[in-house]
């Protein structure tokens, strides 16, 4: 026989002024199974909780219903009180007499009647509650960081410095990402490489970090605390243990005219190459698609040049399997190429370049060693036009969002240009200036006021070539849309920041969600900005949305601290509100018929297949099984189950129907 205790809270006047709490307690006391029913001014206070605890002990209660505020408010409080009195906390339910009753209805009999109904529903439910124990999940204390840009570097270093092992995977031959390509950074104009490269070296030397460059995630299985990652180490064609990074091979390479990815196509590289001199690791890879030997079967000049005999033409891709407890996704972004813009010449004009290419022109490590020279004839441009929002905020181009960093880097570019070309004039065409951030607006004002950059508010409709100049046609919307025409020597497009081209594929590998623009989704846009909806996977940097370096670093540190927090415990404990497939004695085993409709309904891949075998090992049946450490407890599978074999603990069919039958 159930022995239920009902505790009605007045919440001071909040409930008491509208609902006749004494009457509710009285009515509850008459319900079958209720052995104790009282009302009290403040049930959540210390004496109120003591009231509950004493009753549990003295009346040997088997269930508790607290009629008070919303369970979203004080359910943990009262469940803890029950646990302290020796009652399983999941045998406590709350009837919401405040938010759902006293605060929203007039004082009167009808409201009191509703309160009684609410209590009665929960009494019927709690009679059918089962004691539950929190689920414990062991944790592998090693993190996988995907992406070796500034986000991945920051996250890896923070986790490693917290004392945990980190595996950092980068698909390019070197870590550094886009930040390594930048010249100076806004709003301080400090050199990007100068602040980044020491971090890169720190990653390479950190005893807690294992670095896999030129590698990609092949697959990820498992669940929070217990992932298994398979990493493909692409063949470098160079034995890293023997290579000293002397560079003799690079000098001898016959292929010298390959566009350099690091220089955004403005410089050239060889087939055996390191992306840039400060690369980490500073060990070359052979670009097999471009290498003479792989194309024609002859050459091997690099092999002859190598003093340590480190070249391995027969090296193959290697698959490495690693167990990790958490994953930080920091795979970064891409930018639209100039060929995306028909109105700006389809990428056919050599002197129309992207912002990233301008970074390389302005960088001391770039193809012009930091001098601003236009790609077509290597001349110093005297008139330069920067076009902000190239693609961004343009629904006609399929990009609705603001790329966020362009206003700032365009101001920076114009400023760098003015500093380097004293007799030149910079123009910026813009839609709005979005300079929210510490010292950001001041920075833009400096470009206008001190460096005399001419800002024109309006879109550029067309660019065409005429007599070696680029004619930029636009309007000035602040001057009654008066047409503006600039004869420019060089045009820089602040092209839209987009998700990586293979972001969707990665998201599917990780089983995380992404938005319409293929940016990865955080678990909650405000309150859970670094977690993803798959437990144990975190996100940092521009793979989630366009963002600048300070924001990226902040998010990476946030993700890292979440990982470190998770790793501070030996096992995870979570609410046992999970689905379970019923099990019965043989020969029934379970009412599950193995249709696996639940498998298709589960958004978390929590449904596994369990094989029931006889003593001789023969397969009797295959039924569904819920992995309780993955299940989030939504119950979608329960509603879908044809044979009602799967049920949700805490919200079982029996409990929910009992609530209904009480009405």
């Amino acid at each position: 026989m159930p022995r239920i205790g009902v505790f009605i809270c007045h919440c001071g006047e909040n409930i008491g002024a509208t609902v006749d709490c004494a009457a509710v307690a009285q009515a509850a006391g008459r319900l079958p199974g209720v052995v104790h029913a009282v009302d009290y001014k403040y049930m959540c206070s210390d004496p109120g909780q003591s009231l509950i605890k004493e009753a549990i002990r003295e009346k040997r209660l088997t269930g508790v219903v607290v009629g008070a505020c919303s369970p979203r408010m004080h359910e943990p409080t009262f469940r803890r009180a029950c646990a302290e009195a020796g009652l399983n906390p999941f045998l406590c339910e709350m009837a919401n007499l405040r938010e759902h009753c006293s605060w929203v209805h007039e004082k009167g009999e009808v409201t009191t009647q509703k309160a009684i109904d609410l209590v009665r529903m929960l009494v019927e439910k709690v009679k059918r509650n089962r004691p539950l124990t929190p689920i414990r999940v062991p944790i592998t204390k090693r993190a996988l960081v995907l992406g070796g840009g500034i986000a991945g570097i920051q996250a890896a270093l923070d986790i490693a410095n917290a004392g945990h092992k980190v595996v950092l995977v980068e698909r390019d031959p070197s870590i550094g990402g886009h930040m390594a390509q930048l010249s100076e950074t806004f709003p301080t104009l400090d050199c990007s490489q100068c602040i980044l490269t020491p971090r890169m070296v720190e990653v390479a030397q950190h005893p807690n970090i294992t670095l896999y460059t030129y590698s990609e995630l092949e697959s990820l299985d498992g669940f929070i605390g217990n992932f298994r990652a398979t990493i493909r180490k692409k063949a470098r064609s160079v034995d890293e243990s023997l290579c000293t990074g002397c560079g003799a091979c690079i000098q001898k390479c016959a292929q010298k005219k390959i566009p350099s990815e690091f220089n955004a196509g403005l410089g050239r590289r060889t087939a055996i190459y390191v992306p840039f001199p400060q690369a980490v690791p500073n060990k070359p890879v052979i670009d097999r698609a471009r290498c003479t030997y792989y194309k024609s079967g002859r050459c091997k000049l690099c092999e002859k040049a190598c003093p340590t005999k480190a070249i391995r033409f027969d090296q193959e891709d290697e698959l490495v399997t690693i167990d990790v407890g958490a994953v930080v996704v920091a795979t970064g972004y891409d930018v639209k190429p100039t060929s995306f813009f028909p109105e700006y010449g389809y990428g056919e004009y050599k002197d129309v370049i992207t912002g990233l290419q301008f970074e390389r022109l302005a960088s001391a490590s770039g193809p012009t060693l930091g001098e601003i020279r236009r790609p077509s004839d290597n001349e110093v441009p005297k008139k330069i036009v920067f076009i902000a929002c190239a693609g961004s905020r343009d629904p006609a181009k399929g990009i609705h969002y603001c790329s966020k960093i362009c206003c700032m880097y365009t101001a920076k570019h114009a400023m760098l240009y003015s500093h380097k070309v004293h007799d030149g004039q910079a123009y910026v065409f813009y839609m709005d200036i979005r300079a929210g951030g510490k010292m950001y607006e001041e920075f833009v004002r400096r470009a206008v006021e001190e460096d005399h950059v001419r800002y024109v508010r309006g879109r550029v409709s067309r660019i065409y070539q005429k007599d070696g100049k680029l004619i930029v046609k636009g309007v000035d919307t602040l001057l009654n849309s008066r047409p503006v025409e600039v004869e420019a020597d060089l045009v820089v497009l602040a092209t839209a920041m987009t998700a990586q081209p293979d972001a969707e594929e990665l998201a599917q590998k990780l089983k995380v969600s992404y938005d319409g623009d293929k940016f990865l989704n955080e678990a909650h846009p405000k309150l859970r900005p670094v977690e993803m909806n798959t437990a144990g996977i975190f996100v940092a940097g521009a793979c989630q949305a366009p963002k600048d370096i300070p924001e990226t670093v902040a998010q990476a540190s946030g993700a890292a601290s979440k990982v470190a927090g998770m790793f501070s415990r030996d096992e995870l404990s979570r609410e046992p509100v999970v689905a379970v497939v019923n099990r019965q004695p043989p020969p029934v085993w379970s009412t599950c018929v193995g249709c696996f409709l639940c498998e298709t309904a589960c958004a978390y891949q929590a449904i596994e297949r369990e094989e029931i075998r006889g003593r001789d090992g023969s397969l009797i049946r295959t039924i569904a099984k819920v992995n309780e450490s993955v299940c989030q407890g939504c119950g979608t599978c329960v509603a879908l189950c044809r044979s009602k074999s799967i049920d949700l603990q805490g919200y079982t069919n029996e409990q929910v129907y009992a609530e209904l039958l009480a009405l």
């Binding site: 929203v104 409201t111 609410l118 119950g635 979608t636 509603a639 044979s643 949700l648 009405l663």
Partner: protein
């Protein structure tokens, strides 16, 4: 029939609509007291047998409400609920359940006022329709026999 008060049962998800109804409370927005809320983790959990059972218990109207599409706390539970509902409503219609008595809605945790409006409008609509006696009678009278659930 002047004193007829409709009985409404609402199945809501814990994360959006239940929280939204909490917000209605904290905002002190008054609404009709005819609704009884059954809290579930997700609209995806709502087995539509529950709706039949609610009518079997003498409910005059049923509300189903959860997170807006795309905002589900559990990624996709509400999509499952919506898809299932689109099929189920045709069945309900076919067997003669008065479809005007079932309201499917989305109320987010930030839409306290919308919850009050939803309840008020459903109560007003169902009040016009009058008590739903036809359905329970088929099952042998109000509140008598629960529908068999396996």
């Amino acid at each position: 029939m002047a004193e007829y008060e409709p009985k409404i049962i609402a199945f809501v998800c814990n994360w959006c609509t239940y929280a939204g109804a909490d917000l209605t409370g904290t905002s002190r927005i008054h609404y009709a007291p005819n609704v009884r809320v059954v809290r579930l983790p997700c609209t995806g959990r709502i087995d539509f047998m529950l709706i039949l059972q609610a009518f079997g218990q003498g409910a005059d109207g049923v509300i189903v409400s959860g997170c807006h599409p795309g905002d589900c706390h559990y990624t996709a539970g509400n999509f499952h609920a919506r898809r299932r509902w689109m099929l189920f409503r045709r069945l309900l219609d076919f067997v003669g359940v008065d479809m005007r008595r079932v309201t499917f809605s989305w109320v987010s945790a930030a839409e306290g006022a919308k919850w009050a409006e939803l309840v008020n409008s459903v109560v007003a609509d169902v009040r016009k329709l009058g008590p739903y006696e036809e359905f329970p009678q088929r099952l042998g009278g109000p509140g008598q026999k629960p529908i068999e659930v396996a």
